[in-house]
Assembly symmetry: D3
Homo-oligomer: 337 residues x 6
């Protein structure tokens, strides 16, 4: 298998996830389940499972928390030799899983004081890191943290572009982090987009962040209208995204490539652990693009990867290519013996 | 916030709940999950979460079990200084959670030999306890235990009435505890009702315990017929209750106040832990009445509290006012980040 | 109760089941839940719960794994004095429970090297073992393991028949174990069938293993056509089986006895742990036959036992006769207090 | 092996042990570890492990607790067909394990209200039960519970004696249960002793319960003085007991047989779980006596069994004869590979 | 009991302790055990257990972490109505328990960004809080955090002194927090000492922080020399402290009162959980002082409390007065039945 | 840091360790703790923690067990790209941890049927694997498995020697695996030794396997006599080993290098988990040799690494260089804050 020729890196944050088990509230719990996650880690986890070589670029504190995060990342098959060491804290979030009408809650700790969020571009040997890289992934959350983080992200994007590295970018817009300030957000996102080759976003990002307009209420038609415009405006090769219909517990995906848009089937989903399912979709798109699969095969694979990511524990997708293709091909067997 | 002016107390039993985890049968288990509960504790737990001052009146043994029960009650925000100490045992029940068509089973231990069930009225410094109380809650289960317990409950009810304290009473009828003897039960309940200001019951209690008659098959209409009669007969200010439709997994509530009945919307529910959901309803009613909310707002809040109590672990409701109002206002967001 | 007059034995393998908890993948787990199971153990477990005397015939290694398996079997109420000791290994399977569209996976270890699978007929004191036996249960999986195992199974079947012992046989066909070689399988199964009195199978076994033909697409009608033929051809008194409709999550059962076939109602099922539910059905049939119940009562009881086995943890059915009859009688109560 | 010719039964109580894990106090715990134990169960557990046929005689409630206790007892290799069913409760004790200077605490629940403690002699089919029994074990705790229990114990002792069954009796004196009333205790114990063949006791029982006198301070010499006297007075064949020196964490045992006393070596012990270690000693004596081993071999084996019982979890001894003989022979290997 | 007349408050931080279980390293763990602790909480926990009324003064964030901390504090019997709400974070520390020669490691998170460490004096209604207080406890760690925290601590100390409230102060010196800057530390400590009535410290604090001198190598004699000097210089009524001899695993305590020093016996200790044992000592001193016990009884009780705190899980002492007196009186019983 | 220039590989087996938790016996357990280990994995784990680049050479089945083993190995910082895929089974061992006089027991499953033990040399691309390798580690256990395994080990050793790669070899003699056949073992070991540069062994291996003679009883003097002889005979550069004195719970190490032997101090050890401590010693030697440290520093570091490996969970050493040097330098601090 020649997949390993590709070497995919992601620049981003890894956080400790501290989850209250058994749908308890934190005040009821004596134990927490921990793992380590982040958009970049999640995407690389899946790509590593698909057979690609991957490495994560971040900054971690030199203490037991940094050690533990590294060990976890490696267990996912991701290399850790590009990780800078220093700073004080690992970012964290506490997770209370919801149940039926009770919502899931996420409480951040050290949101902006983490080693990564206080890192400077000089903490990373960018040239060295990007030397043998074929694709670089960046996540929009970084744009909201601080001016320094925006600078870092932009620096990586530009440098990668210069070196002919494919740049993948995930909008990942979180209104809370911007205090709902769309004007500021738009400016930041527009600075990055010219360097992007593969972009993960939906019509909502187009409307709210990029301030585009559409009278279309139907999301599919809205996507068919807005996404090609964006692709042209910023010269983006591929734009993809997933659409969730919560009421029906259904999900579908789309991909724009070569001037046309392709939608996947609609899939039922049931969420054992919903965080990271969007990252599974992105990793499916990237895998398909690398493999130069057909557009409809790519989006079907990515959406199946997304559906399966709902059925596994943790943020980082761990299903194999075989399991995903099995769902693409729609079989339904319960016990394999 | 001036809520703390109210000081709500409940007289009742606290039992240790010993739950077989993971839907196992007891014979399959090496571990049990424990907590402490009871109608009074559950209601005060919710009221404390809503910001009210609360205290629980009971009798506990002077041993590690009594200590543990006290510690748990305090963690819920309930004061324990009115608790009498002595006797031999803490009441207990073993819980095997059902799954789909397999029923939940409850096995009592020490049902009638507990410190509380063998307590005498002189164990409680009733005058002192009721001095600064604004509302007293009592539960009908006490009427079934023994003559002494009936006497104790009645004594507390009378004394509270004399002192101008609002008396809340929950029918909580359990046929098993009376060996199905409705005549005996009716007599006991009728002794208490004249002292009651707020009563929790349904049409079924009216039919079976109070021996009333109705040809109406529709439960809502039956409630509209019977509840006002009861309110008038026993001079009860407020009567409220919840109606569960198991087949459809739906629940709704009603409140009778100022000569008219108001029903809530129907809510879907899914039960992670069903015990205590009725107590959440009652606490919602009490909270609304204290706040002098409008009738329809009260019953909507109480029913939402009841629905949410199905989604949390344990008998004692722990959702906040904000979470309940969120459901009242019908939003449906899954991950708050 | 005179049930204990019957003494039911099963000859078969007991395996250690190593289950990854909480729907994790093995690579995510630090802990496994273990138990011991096998078709024979499962059936005897249920029959013991129904009040019958039972004993399991197998071979176990003389080490901590053998000891543990024995202890577990005894806890189910099954006698272990017929178990031979020796050999090297206990058979094992690792179980990753699926979730929604993610399939359950089973990975065997020591499939053919276990003490049982390498045992010789001389390891068992067959005469002595069968002396006081009223029914012997055998499972078709043994036919696939090796020539030696086929010989052992056939030897037990013949000997039992000679001694007038009722022989129950479960097809339990697993294509994987035969590498899909129906010709070889058919030959083996046909050697056993002449000794069988009670047979567990479905139309699919008739078509694929016994190579029968039917143009009928409707499974019920196909069963009505094929099963009586088989009964006649091999002189089998009773044939029974269960039909699962996965898409609808429904299950029903049938029994052929005295020249006619009787089907049960269709039951909804929800699977907490699906393995062993077929064995629950078989045990229900055997119990009914021993009790000389009416045909329709037998199949309704067996199907209810099967449905309930989906709702309990572990492979070995543990519901009581009362619980099963409760479902037969269709009541639906959630909390018994 | 002809050991199975012996059929040893014990009449006594089985209690649920609810242990707070990890040396926590109950008020700190959300989980309890459960098992089922009692002097009789413990002794039969060990004897079953040594290869003897055993059966436990008690009364259990007809509910999930009774079922679970039975299943546990069977897992230890003890037959449960002599167990009567009925009554309300299973006896229980809560265990907080001590640590260093912090003492272990035991809190009983349902001490005298259990199915066993409220059972009548007519609940047991004594003739039938004792028919094929070769040895009967009784425990002195029963004498303290109630007149009825004393009557039951005495009845079993007499009946066994009449039938030529060896009667083993354990003093197991608990001052708390008698409120320190030695006079009353002495009377009760003296009623039983004439029927006893094998007696487990120490010099302390002689002094406090049997009200004997000795000016000897050295325990070994005191035993050499008092035990033969008792053997003669009550015509007891064998008297044995273990001596614990807490300060030194050492233990030794003695046996009186054929007019002479034999002491074991002193063994270091470290207690992982100390409850039941005395029962391990008794089982070792019984096993040796049945095997007609030499006096010094018997007491060495019994003391080694006792020492090993400190190193295993739970009240019921589970070490094998081989493991015990290994300690008798003093080897010290850490990892067997 | 008149103890409740005393109302003891502590001003300080509560942190979440996230403990890696089973002596694992964080990188090996999937679960953490959590609790909430701090010097003030620990001392009030013990005093509440001894029967005193207590309240904790701090600032907590308005989120699930703040809720959980409050619930935990209440479970210890400490009132939470003096707690201010606001800010962003709860302080945290990760704990890897050491084993033998492997050291325990503590990793802080949010050390200075917590709601408490960023709180202003105006966040606390100081007058109102101190109104009914009889004793106020403060901890020296606060002096190291920031100028604001020093100001807050000093403000509380002065105000309490003005109101005639007994001020207890714990040196609790942590070189790491001051980056070893003794000059700065000395200045800060000396500002507080004039307001202190009861002071917890040792000779080491005298040497390193207060920059005193002694040629005495023997610690007892050094204490006898230095402590009276300090008491006089700063007009402190009581000074107490504990001395740990790690090599011997022994501990002893001293108290200076009424111009003379009294030492306790030396006690062996074994540490199940060592954190918080110093706070147990302090709470024992405070309890004895409130009860006006004799000097030697006070220090013996405090040292026993300290020894027992090593034997229980968690930072907050939970042993009862009876348990501590039992150790004072030196008995050694293992199982109380 | 230039350490990464070294690239250390090990050829060997990785087994699943299934450990009964809490010192239970397997028959008492419902859960097992799992991890993956082997001499090679353990040594590379430590070397990776010290900063070296490492890769493990083995063969794993293509199933969930193989995936899980890989993921675990990667989490330790070891590369997995040299691992061959195929075969049926992962080797396993069940571990019952001993307690005091109760021995630890190890029960193997799939000892010789594993993917690794049935692998052929052609499964490994030996040339490619050894291309960039600076050191290769082999373990003597392989010699006992089968002729094929001996051939594989020898082939790797020869090939490495040819390529100028340093060959490290661990005697790791297990009499059980050879059925005590020293003659056969000697032949096999002597075939390998000529290719070895660094050898881990003790005087016992010299006596029993290499059939050397010594009248010396003192182990240190015996080592001083025999080890240089071996070094000369087989032209081995470095020979090292550790000596355990179980009775005293002390351990020391030795290294032979440049014609002279150097012994470490004696260290106390306490075993939380003893398996893998010998591998920690070996990794310390290798690290020291690579760093070209002084002989006495190397052996002190290695012995400290060994002592610390007793204090951590799992077979694979995880202590850092700093932690080990801390012990070398003998400090003793309990809580670092």
């Amino acid at each position: 298998m020649k997949k390993e020729e590709h070497y995919i890196k992601a620049f981003g944050e890894v956080m400790m996830r501290l989850e209250v088990p058994n749908y308890l509230k934190l005040a009821q719990a004596q134990e927490l389940r921990i793992l380590y996650s982040g958009t970049g880690v999640n995407i690389l986890s899946a790509l590593s499972r698909f057979g690609h070589r991957t490495s994560f670029i971040t900054k971690l504190p030199e203490n037991t928390l940094g050690d533990a995060a590294k060990s976890y990342i490696r267990s996912l098959g991701i290399e850790t030799s590009d990780i800078a060491i220093g700073g004080n804290y690992l970012g964290m979030y506490f997770l209370e899983q919801g149940f039926h009408v009770r919502n899931t809650t996420v409480t951040y700790s050290n949101r902006k004081e983490s080693s990564f969020c206080t890192s400077k571009i000089t903490d990373y040997n960018v040239e060295q890191i990007l030397k043998d890289t074929s694709m670089l992934h960046l996540c929009g959350i970084m744009l909201s943290i601080s001016k320094q983080m925006r600078y870092n992200a932009l620096y990586f994007a530009k440098k990668a572009k210069q070196l002919g590295i494919t740049v993948a970018f995930d909008f990942n817009y979180r209104p809370k982090l911007w205090n709902g300030d769309y004007t500021e957000a738009q400016k930041c996102y527009e600075q990055v987009l010219p360097y992007v080759d593969i972009c993960f976003m939906t019509d909502r990002d187009a409307l709210y962040i990029l301030n585009m307009e559409s009278i279309e209420k139907n999301r599919q038609r809205r996507i068919e209208q807005l996404i090609p415009e964006i692709a042209k405006k910023y010269d983006i090769t591929i734009i993809a995204g997933s659409l969730r219909e919560e009421a029906d517990q259904q999900i579908s995906g789309f991909i724009y490539q070569d001037d046309s848009i392709c939608f996947s089937r609609k899939y039922d989903y049931r969420a054992m652990d919903r965080i990271g399912s969007g990252d599974a979709f992105s990793s499916g798109i990237i895998h398909g693009v690398i493999n130069e699969s057909a557009r409809d095969a790519i989006v079907e694979f990515a959406t199946s990867a997304c559906v399966l990511a709902h059925t596994t524990y943790g943020d980082s997708p761990i299903c194999s290519e075989e399991e995903i293709l099995f769902l693409v091909n729609q079989k339904d067997v319960q016990i394999e013996r």
